[in-house]
C-alpha cells in the first residue's frame, strides 16, 4: 500500500499527531500528548499506531529526568524513478528555471510516451 493510501486511513487523532510530529521535526512523547491535548494513554496509543505504520520513528531517551521516547517523522521513501523517462532524468535538475516548452523537456516527454 502506498504511503498516501496509509495516510488516508488514519483517524483524525492519528492525523493530527502525525502533523504535529512532522511540523515539529521531532518531539518528546511527554510533550507530544500535552501539545495534542489528549491523555498520556491516548497519546501513547496514537504513537504505537503511527510507529506500526512506519510513519514515524521513536527512540528511547531521557528527557527532563524521565524515560520517554523521542518521536521523529519517518523519512519519506519516495519513488525517485518517477523523475525518469526511459533512461532520461528530468531536464530541470540543476536548472533554476523550469521551461515546460523547452526542447529538452520535449525529448523527455517523447521518451515517456515511446520508451516506457
Amino acid at each position: 500500500m502506498s504511503m498516501a493510501a496509509i495516510e488516508e486511513e488514519l483517524s483524525d487523532d492519528e492525523r493530527a499527531g502525525l502533523e504535529l510530529i512532522r511540523e515539529s521535526g521531532g518531539i518528546h512523547q511527554s510533550d507530544f500528548w500535552k501539545e495534542l491535548d489528549v491523555s498520556s494513554r491516548k497519546g501513547s496509543r496514537i504513537v504505537d499506531s503511527l510507529a506500526d505504520k512506519e510513519l514515524i520513528q521513536r527512540e528511547e531517551t531521557i528527557y527532563e529526568g524521565h524515560n520517554t521516547y523521542h518521536l521523529t517523522p519517518a523519512p519519506r521513501d519516495l519513488d525517485f524513478s518517477l523523475l525518469m523517462a526511459g533512461d532520461q532524468l528530468s531536464p530541470f535538475i540543476g536548472d533554476e528555471e523550469v521551461d515546460a516548452r523547452s526542447d529538452a523537456f520535449s525529448q523527455w516527454v517523447m521518451s515517456l510516451a515511446y520508451n516506457e
Binding site: S2, M3, A4, E7, P75, R76, L78, D79, F80, S81, L82, L83, M84, A85, L89, S90, F92, I93, G94, V98, D99, A100, R101, F105, V109, M110, L112, A113, Y114, E116
Partner: protein
Amino acid sequence: MAFEDLLEDPVIQKYLHELVGPKGMPVAAAPPDGEVTDEELAEELGLELNDVRRALFILYENDLASYRRLRDEDSGWLTYLWTFKYENIPEKLEEEMHRLLDALEDRESYERDNEFYLCERCGIRFEFDEAMEFGFQCPECGDQVESMENTRLVDAMDERIATLRDELNVDHEREDAEA
C-alpha cells in the same frame, strides 16, 4: 564510505552525475565519513586538485556538501574541511519531483489545447496558427505539413501526473479549485 544505501539508487547516481559531470563523479560517488580536505580527496582518488575542487563546490551550491575553514597559524594558509551532506538528497529529489509535476501539468494542457502539424521531412512541429500562416507548407522545405496526433503524449503525461500526485500526496481537488 558513507551514504552507501542512497548511492545504490540508480536515480541518485544519475542525479549526482548530472550535477558534477563525469570528471567530478569519482568525488561525488565516494563520500567519506566525516571531514576531508580537497588535497586528501585528490590524492586518494588520483585526481587533479582542480577537478576535486570543482566537484566539491558544485555539491556545496546544491546543499550536498559544506565546509569550514581553518587557518594554519604558522603559514597563514587556509585549509578547507569538507563534509558531505547527502542526507539532503531525498529532500532535493522530492523538490525536483514537484518541479517536474508542475511542468507536466503545464505541458499537458498546452498539448491538449492545441492542434499540431508536422513536416515529416524536416521533423519540425507547428502550432495550428503557425501552420496556417505558412499556408500549411513547411517554411524550410515547402512540403505540405500534416495534422499530427498527440494523444499518446497526452496520455503518457496524464499517467505520470497521476502517479506523481499520488506519490507526493498532492491534493488535486484543492489545486483544481485554486486554478
